[in-house]
Symmetry: C2
Subunit: 226 residues, 2 copies
């Protein structure tokens, strides 16, 4: 499948690498290719600059949002939550009509320091905002409840015995995403329902952030025991 991963940060890199490893043709989308490749300082999470990662992963293309998404079967939103709509608008051929959009972003608001709060929650969610802005896209919220390393290698935590959620209005889109999650090693994919259910996993983030703080590491996930 041709996949555009929007976002050059930790999550975008991790997903792009994993999806390429699974045999997909992956292009990473960014706002400004030249600017992305020109940066020499560590990224926001302290990781190496993108150009170093790109040099080590030459099989993964880098392109502007629109070019990356031009003929993609799947668009992955791995941008910062605050920039997601803008990135998708830049990527958005025909307003993403009929396109499968896997949204893994969180609506994090760092304006009041750490831990961040959410810029949308409770009666709305980032997943819903994206679906409303692109009403003909098939938006599926998933994977936002864990760190990038756990997203792409669930076996690193508890032998992989933990849960991942999907929320979306389109059943076939959720089935395709679940298939991808299974290929990535996830063993317990829970369909929460329509896109409004994205409020649940997005509002879980504040608990995840406290667990990260209390346990001192991000290699964790939750298993829904039932």
């Amino acid at each position: 499948m041709k996949i555009a991963v929007l976002g050059t940060g930790t999550v975008g890199r991790a997903l792009a690498g994993k999806l390429a490893e699974l045999g997909h043709q992956v292009t990473i989308g960014t706002r400004d290719v030249a600017a992305t490749l020109a940066r020499t300082e560590p990224d926001g999470m302290g990781g190496p600059p993108f150009r170093d990662w790109h040099a080590a992963n030459p099989h993964i293309d880098l392109a502007a949002y629109a070019e990356a998404a031009a003929d993609a079967d799947l668009v992955v939103n791995a941008t910062h939550g605050a920039g997601s709509i803008e990135a998708l608008e830049a990527a958005g051929r025909d307003d993403l009509a009929g396109v499968l959009v896997m949204d893994v972003a969180n609506p994090l608001d760092f304006s009041a320091g750490m831990p961040p709060s959410l810029f949308v929650c409770n009666t709305d969610s980032l997943g819903e905002q994206i679906q409303r802005r692109f009403p003909d896209a098939h938006v599926v919220k998933t994977l936002n409840t864990m760190s990038a390393s756990v997203m792409i290698d669930p076996g690193r935590v508890g032998g992989g015995d933990h849960s991942v959620f999907v929320s979306g209005d389109n059943t076939e889109a959720k089935r395709r995403v679940a298939e991808l999650l299974t290929a990535m090693g996830h063993t317990d994919v829970i369909d929460l329902g329509d896109i409004t259910t994205a409020r649940g996993p997005e509002m879980y983030l504040p608990l995840w952030l406290r667990l990260f703080g209390a346990l001192g590491m991000p290699l964790l996930n939750i298993k829904v025991v039932r």
Copy 2:
């Protein structure tokens, strides 16, 4: 230990029964004893009226909030979130100075229908509101992340292999609550930190509500796998 459980609903009854079974002297607190005993209709969750439950559990006293809490070593807030501060004010000898308050309530807002949203979240929590109103009480947020039946009988779900959280400013208060949780059968008590961390487990509720909806039953809990 002398325990006052504020609230006559499903959660209050369950906790009162379990704590009495563990050998504690339990009094259930209510706003108006006569009115509580006069009700003959099912309670808000469709359970039997309180007086039927009370007749079957005569070893558990019923008293007005202030009387129930008068010499209690522990006050359990099992009232509706929207009525919690008022109930604690009614119970509040010396503004609950030095009293251990175990807060298991959720700030649920049913005004826009089901599933409920939260009336406080993101940058504040019910646990913090209670602690601010009663600055000398030792407030510990816990157990709000599961249904009453799982609170008091964790073994009913996955053999009890799942997690419960405590948030509070006072270490000794959290230790006492953790001891109680362990006595109730909980095996994985995670100390999230100070009372501001109550935002995490309270904001988890919207996910719990969607899991309840998707799985069709409330006999579930999360295990923090790490």
